[in-house]
Symmetry: C2
Subunit: 447 residues, 2 copies
């Protein structure tokens, strides 16, 4: 039976032009991650359902692609990279701590696909496991900052908060432990639904107007990071968890400055709460201001999650960049550098006829040997047809070999962008090609 070829909803094919851009982004991320000493880790796509369900509990049921394998085991596809990391840390106690790893890999979520939300998408995670030092928290924020800068992002900032401070605020205002998660879930929508709607939702939840006023007053504290922390210290300094959270952020901001992250790129934002309940300390969210695409990166400290999934508890902190969002911004702002073309091929070598094919193959072999990405035209079509192939594929240069050129030991180099062509001796071909390619490509700044 012939299947109608189609791709599942929420899943995507990445044809070459898209894939070249994705490679460009993930190569840069990998380079930055390794620059900070994060090591690559890879885990299977399929995990025991029990492992996957450990973190989210009931919610997992909606989220996970679950099925039974041939051995009758309940298994599923990973929906994030944090659970596999926690499993790995639990399974291999021999891993030297702190364990700094990155993983750039697809995850799967059986949710309804929406604009910008897919059922298969890539996460790019860095985490430090086994350190309570705020140096670790500062480092994952610095890595994300450096990666975004390296990709050419400029209009973004990291919003930073601390779950301990939120806990202290709730405790000071007398918001019960049962009520608190609901309160923060509502507060987190501040940017989306506005202060007035937050107020009315909090009222619906059962908070008194006085309580809501008190909450707003604290969350709205303004000033630079140090000023807000000072104001918080006045209000919460005598709540032990509050004092702890404030000190953590003081350290964190101090280390970010020492790591040379410019102050305009991070900002204490008490409204930013983040959904996942497993965070225990500092939390981060990178937002892009132009285009107004919102969060492209999030993370935080989760000191109890690994102990929840395995036999030993390890403090941990991490951050996750969403590849799809990064690409959306790069597209919207036209940020891809000139070297990211629609094709990897730099040169097409034409073929005159069967007799002269050997010359074309020899020229291609010599170009490849010197590092030029080279195609030989596969077929014996007319030159116009071969040039059309190069043009449709956006190959920037064509090397034309006809009997006259071959007999004179020459080749013609045609620039497909300008349409100009020059005749060069075979021995000078490589330098002619390099010159043309350098013209066509504007170098990107390296880290």
């Amino acid at each position: 039976m012939k299947a109608t070829p189609q791709v599942l909803k929420g899943m995507r094919d990445f044809l070459p032009a898209r894939m070249i851009l994705r490679h460009f982004v993930t190569d840069q991320l990998r380079r930055v991650f390794e620059r900070f000493g994060f090591e690559p880790l890879q885990t299977p796509a399929i995990e025991y359902a029990e492992t996957l369900e450990g973190k989210f509990g009931e919610e997992a049921d909606k989220l996970i692609y679950k099925f039974e394998d041939r051995g009758g085991r309940a298994v599923g596809l990973r929906y994030d990279l944090t659970v596999p990391l926690a499993r790995v840390v639990s399974m291999y106690p021999e891993l030297v701590k702190p364990f700094k790893r990155y993983q750039i890999a697809p995850v799967w979520r059986a949710e309804r696909p929406q604009k910008g939300r897919y059922r298969e998408f890539y996460q790019c995670d860095v985490d430090v496991v086994g350190s309570q030092s705020m140096v670790a928290d500062a480092e994952v924020v610095t890595v994300a900052y450096t990666a975004l800068r390296q990709l050419g992002f400029s209009s973004f900032r990291a919003l930073i908060n601390n779950r301990k401070i939120l806990q202290a605020i709730a405790s000071r205002l007398g918001i019960s432990a049962e009520l608190a998660p609901g309160v923060w879930r509502i507060a987190d929508k501040w940017d989306k639904i506005g202060a007035e709607n937050v107020r009315s939702e909090l009222a619906e939840l059962g908070l008194s107007p006085g309580l809501i006023d008190g909450l707003f007053e604290t969350l709205d504290l303004s000033g630079d990071n140090a000023e807000v922390l000072d104001a918080l210290a006045t209000r919460l300094g005598d709540v032990p968890i509050g004092a702890e959270g404030i000190q953590e952020l003081r350290d964190l901001f101090n280390y970010l400055a020492l790591a040379e992250v410019p102050p305009e790129y991070y900002h204490l934002d008490l409204h930013m709460v983040r959904g996942l309940e497993y965070y225990t300390g500092p939390i981060f969210e990178f937002v892009v201001e132009t285009p107004r695409i919102g969060s492209i990166c999030g993370g935080g400290r989760y000191d109890h999650l690994i102990g929840l999934l395995g036999p030993t508890e390890y403090p941990a902190v991490g951050i996750s960049l969403g590849l799809e969002r990064l690409i959306d911004v790069i597209d919207a702002l036209g940020m891809a550098p000139a070297e990211v073309r629609n094709t990897v091929t730099e040169v097409l070598v034409t073929v005159f006829d069967r007799e002269y094919l050997q010359d074309s193959l020899a020229v291609a072999a010599s170009l490849r040997a010197t590092g030029v990405n080279t195609e030989v035209y596969m077929g014996l079509d007319k030159l116009a047809h071969q040039l059309r192939y190069a043009s449709r594929k956006n190959i920037p240069l064509v090397v034309i070999l006809g009997p006259d050129e071959i007999s004179r030991g020459e080749v013609v180099v045609r620039n497909m962008v300008t349409g100009q062509q020059e005749t060069v001796e075979r021995g000078a071909l490589l330098s002619a090609i390099q010159g043309e390619l350098d013209n066509a490509t504007q170098a990107t700044p390296t880290l």
Copy 2:
């Protein structure tokens, strides 16, 4: 509930040291594939079951991880990269032909795991879709050859055969179309079970002793590639499909020579049949002789497969390198270059105490800015403990900052391999580091 952390049988975690080697291999493969103008493609892990079952029919049932998604659709995980390629070519007729793509990606097979066989493993495929030219067949063989050489392989060869020649042999000997597949399946085991067992299995299948003799006589033709083709031409030249197959291999060998693949690296082997029944022309199998690991790469021409899965037929040829096998050989022969370390980190910067942390962070930032993969020790432990961390992680260099060094504007650079250390001025740190790293790393030859 706390899950016991475990990984599914036949699935593997790749911890950093392993993953660094895998990255090294896939980076090299990618570079070689692109050098020949193959473009990256990415497809979803999950496909409609109908798409996956198109190729193998009933056999698929045993092979594929199949399940029902939340929308009640029958879906499955891809078990190879050829079916997704065929689907992509069918779905996007706008793709310029010939479409040359590579894909390096995991596939999943619900088979019983064995030594060297996994349920999740990586394939590295290059294919040319839309060309009947033997230039395409020669190119995929050349790509695989170049990739293996680039990785340092030397003791290997490509076995080459042609399904058309096998068909002509069967036709000449009067082996029926029903019997032929069984005959070739048995012949394919020649290397494994030996000539005598092949003979007895063929007899069991119902071939007469005379027929078996005739078959053996042809398959055993010896000599260099041209001599065997000449001998085949004498026997099969008047069987049209045989003449075609012989001419294809003459062209293929000619193009391999023009592409500068040395003759000792490929060899016409009439016993090599390959299992997949969809091949229609030349077939290839790369075998490694030392260690005796057998096939590491296989492929061939499949001119009808895409038409089987989609509305339009396209001629195609491709080859697939198995990442796990490549790694097995690299391990067995100790072929990984010195630059492939157990860790990506090149330098650890120590921390004296909280007060001097800022100096350590500043030194680390300056090293990273110049491209050195650098960690700052996360914690305030004793120096001996920090050195032990570097040693356990195999970090080659440690930059030690104590109050004395800091006050004099100096640092100590310790080589963890030799144990030697030198005091250098801060301004001379980078060149000292570069010198030590160059000593530690033997450059690999570039393509």
